[in-house]
């Protein structure tokens, strides 16, 4: 079911696949709205704007949209709606040795968020999108390579910056084959924002300790190497819900918290 949602989200945010042939990009009104996941706005197929690219233009609108989506869904966006996350999961299916990720590397994405998304554009002339410019492998893959393949004038302008970005893209691809969701866990500033909001998001993982039998199946099932019984709303959890499926007693559930309405006091036997 999750795979179908991931596929649907990828297709719905990238429906203009025919644009790849001519190297054009979609210019319709939907580009006013930000996609929930990481999806380059210069990708020929993209129908929405990139939230990270828009935030780097010092846009309060884009930052507000990202906060709102994060508050509603948290990193469920990563697990269900992000096309680049979906791609990484497919890459990780390639048969190869798999490695666990040292936990301290997950802090890198907060550094990238601070330096390249929030501070970098302020320090540059014309608010240059420094994360997109120097790092973003999604932009290189979804927009850079197809547009350069289609336009000779762009090919003639390639230089060391493009070489750097292709190197980062290659490293991310190799990393994603070897480590589950390498980019999401180590490098994604959007995942960092949503991760910080995981604690308060409406869509959340719930753990009922009284139902847990301590079998450890959830920990074994977690591709992010978390222990859901201890880190139930960790900033690293992408809400893939594999732990929920693995739990034999229903101790782990994923849903929005119940809405509490002021309840009338139940009538007593004597009707008072």
């Amino acid at each position: 079911m999750r795979r179908l949602i991931q596929l649907a989200a990828t297709v719905l945010t990238n429906p203009h696949a025919a644009n790849f042939l001519g190297g054009r990009i979609y210019r319709g009104g939907l580009k006013n709205f930000c996609a929930p996941g990481l999806n380059c706005w210069s990708c020929p197929a993209a129908t929405l704007s990139c939230p990270l690219g828009a935030i780097q233009t010092m846009s309060f609108y884009a930052a507000g949209c990202t906060l709102l989506i994060g508050l509603l869904l948290g990193r469920m966006v990563c697990g269900f709606l992000c096309p680049f996350g979906f791609l990484q999961e497919l890459l990780n299916k390639i048969p190869a040795p798999k490695f666990s990720l040292p936990r301290r590397l997950t802090r890198v994405k907060y550094f990238l968020l601070a330096m390249f998304v929030l501070i970098g554009p302020v320090l540059t002339e014309l608010n240059a999108p420094t994360f997109c410019q120097y790092i973003c492998p999604a932009g290189t893959l979804e927009a850079g390579l197809p547009l350069i393949a289609a336009h000779e004038d762009l090919r003639n302008r390639l230089g060391s910056l493009f070489a750097l970005k292709v190197t980062i893209l290659a490293a991310v691809i190799v990393g994603s084959v070897l480590v589950h969701r390498f980019f999401c866990r180590v490098m994604c500033p959007l995942g960092a924002v949503y991760g910080l909001l995981n604690r308060w998001s409406f869509w959340r993982l719930n753990f009922a300790a009284d139902r847990c039998v301590g079998c450890g199946r959830c920990r074994q099932a977690c591709p992010i190497e978390l222990d859901p019984t201890r880190e139930v709303n960790s900033a690293e959890c992408v809400r893939c819900e594999r732990c929920v499926e693995a739990c034999p007693t229903g101790a782990l559930t994923c849903h929005t918290p119940p809405v509490k309405f002021p309840l009338k006091r139940p009538p007593t036997v004597d009707g008072s």
């Binding site: 009104g29 580009k31 210069s42 690219g53 930052a63 973003c136 910056l161």
Partner: protein, 41 residues
Amino acid sequence: MMRLIILTAAAAMIIWGIERGELSAIFAKATRVCLECIGIG
């Protein structure tokens, strides 16, 4: 309480951003090939 604060902040930022005319700026950026994004600019 924290949810309410985040929700209010997000709504205020969206409304303020629209008031500042950011939609047209984002639209202009999103409908042109972003040379920085593709590794040229």
